[in-house]
Symmetry: D2
Subunit: 253 residues, 4 copies
């Protein structure tokens, strides 16, 4: 048994920083690097990709709607051709930094509103998949594990799809996430996050808010980086997975 | 004898357009595609690179300071590491579109203030050259023909440098351009531009504002695209070059 | 009988221009000036407000979502408090230019997606109205004539609401506009636009796409500026209104 | 004897925050609110101006070059007319929030590169002063105490000028600041900052890096907000001033 552990990194911009990237990159196996559209100016990307490569963490692009003001979290109605070009642009730019650091891109995980909209909207899912595949059909497209929409879009473009689950987010009975605005949406206790991670990796299931257990098959687990104790939580998750005999290993060949 | 004929293209943004790219791309041999920092959103880049590839025109990146408001024409004091990352980011993004259209990037030509500052400032020239070379040292770096600074920077990074001269701009006795604000700075008469082009390609010299002739060795000639009659002027230049027995051919191997 | 004739102006940005503002400002009685969020940098605003004031045209703000890339035409899900602050920011900035030119703001007309969303979404309509009223409750809020939602929001903030109809757009039977993507959505023939304008002003009704006539009461008529012949069409509309004995006069006290 | 104590606030943007504004606003008498060009989106401005007004702190605008990426700290060559429009735009937008919170703007202090460039460049100083005066000639323009250039520009536009000194920055013998990059440029010890503040307020002089004492007449003292202990340092400065019998009071009539 094996699973990937990923985190969103490089989400500062100019004078502003966010999260403890260096701490997280000592723990996770895959990094999703912000590409400049919701966060991450070129200097931040350069530094972040360098950190990831030196830590032997797989480098992925984390493209977003063009929305610095809203941190890419605002759903918006975009023309699919525009979303496709946006994804291709962002993937190319981060791939350039991977190459400059002697590495290469392994995956692409859409960010925020683009992630959520592409999980549900067929035309947008197809646009995202095309944007990735036009750059390199050897890339893995990471998306919401329960989204058949994005999985189908990826596969019809010849891309491998990797379903993602969250170690530190509470789930609804239908396999979607409890919205951030709801109480208890985020799991802050490292022990609980670790338990949920092992259950997801071992049994492909998750305990939902209501107490029911639902099936959820994920190939990568996300730990969020925008909280002070993020590296410690990630470490607890990783230790628990390895103690349970699950190999923590990046996606990719 | 041979020379390259280049034009800056893809300089619209969102709802705004600029120049007759389709017309120019029927005439020139190299296209410098705006990368999003002074102009050129991803949809514009996608369309422009597609046009260039179908017209068998060599695709280059045209990186700029991050300055949409000033169209990249405002000199600014930037940290060299920041400029290096900016160039790498922009080169990567346009290279991704070239790849998506079944082609590859051949050259990089800095835009506006970055072009002028890098011609004179050693630290910035080195930063630009590093940004390009870190992506691909097989790329040609295009810059002001009279700039020894950028040439040295390119060569010390293992890049081929191609000096650029302007068919449609008037020159000063020291080989620099008459500033745009001065009368007669821009040559609008196609016949005169054609004459200047042939003289540059054949004799490696240019008639200056004062009437003197100075030596100027260029491997590529630029025709500006932001005037209504640009394609016609470019056509006159190309026809005159070919009539004079000079092969008009893209840079690159 | 009287009616206002308005146009959206100042929709260039940096090196890019749009429309013939000087031509339109010789014909209309109210100008909606882009505020920098979808178009209109400060230099453009300064020039445009100056033109409007010298032409004795009433100056209004034309606030938008923060969306330069999409020209403010992309619907997006925004927090109402954020939309309120965005409107207040933009109204304040254009009001400053009006004051600097010895005039004052008379009205506010939301742009593009914000205009359409606020016509239908109660929370957003309230946010827009609050943003305007917090600056100055003496301002007129201009919106889609058939939107009871925005009218109610304006009035509950103590603002005067002015319903807007379009001289050069085709209508659906329910009083909404035929989408721009549909054939015949835009009326380009000056004579037809003039006819529709007079009918709206005189009889408060409009001929719809299907041939039916629906009631529509508007206090201001818009002519679009982003077409080459816009000033001529606006002139035809104004002449027809005046010939029909309808006074063309700005909103306001 | 009296002096004003000011701080730069509202320098977050979107998802990013910076400094402890609430803490600082309990101590200072004047707040310089970022206007959106280097930091401060409309929601941040709304919240910050509200905090300042409730704390009875004088509200000022803190305009910058349009440079989110560089936090307004990158010197750039801008056309004076453009800088003038930029200042007017930003002053108008923050003034709108002051008005919405039942208050009014008292002063304008340029930020970062604009502050430094306007202290030395006559054309830019004149542009900044015109931008302020065109909005309201009753505003106080705050700038580097040792800059005769900006003082003259302010006065020739009929503006009151207030010279600013820094409680927590080390000075050079010529009255300019030791560059941030040099060791010891920033005074982090509250006791030392308090001493420097009292000396500036009482004796109009400052101890320089070399040990000499130079004359420096300031009407307002700045404490920086972008360090963790900023409110404590500001409190030490204020207490020391008041203990020395110096009234700490906002600029303005």
């Amino acid at each position: 048994m094996e699973i990937d552990l990923n985190a969103d990194v490089g989400e500062g911009f100019g004078a502003w920083s966010m999260g403890d990237d260096a701490g997280l990159l000592r723990v996770v196996t895959s990094a999703n690097v912000a590409c400049g559209f919701h966060a991450g100016d070129p200097s931040v990307i350069d530094r972040t990709v360098g950190l990831a490569v030196r830590a032997c963490v797989a480098v992925g692009a984390h493209p977003s709607h063009f929305d610095l003001r809203g941190f890419g979290r605002r759903n918006m109605v975009v023309d699919p051709a525009e979303a496709e070009a946006d994804v291709l642009y962002q993937v190319g730019s981060v791939a350039g930094f991977a190459r400059a650091h002697g590495s290469r891109l392994t995956h692409v995980k859409p960010h925020g509103a683009l992630y959520n909209q592409a999980a549900a909207d067929e035309a947008l899912a197809a646009a995202v998949a095309r944007g990735v595949a036009r750059f390199d059909s050897g890339l893995v497209l990471v998306g919401l594990a329960s989204s058949a929409t994005l999985r189908r879009a990826a596969e019809s473009q010849g891309l491998r799809f990797a379903g993602e689950a969250f170690a530190d987010r509470r789930y609804e009975p239908d396999g979607t996430l409890v919205p951030r605005s709801a109480e208890g949406a985020v799991i802050v206790d490292p022990a609980q996050a670790a338990l949920q991670a092992v259950r997801l990796a071992e049994k492909h299931e998750v305990l939902t808010r209501g107490g029911a257990v639902v099936s959820l098959r994920a190939e990568t687990l996300c730990v969020h980086g925008d909280t002070p104790g993020a590296p410690a939580l990630a470490r607890a998750v990783r230790d628990a997975l390895e103690t349970a005999g699950i190999a923590v290993r990046a996606l990719g060949p």
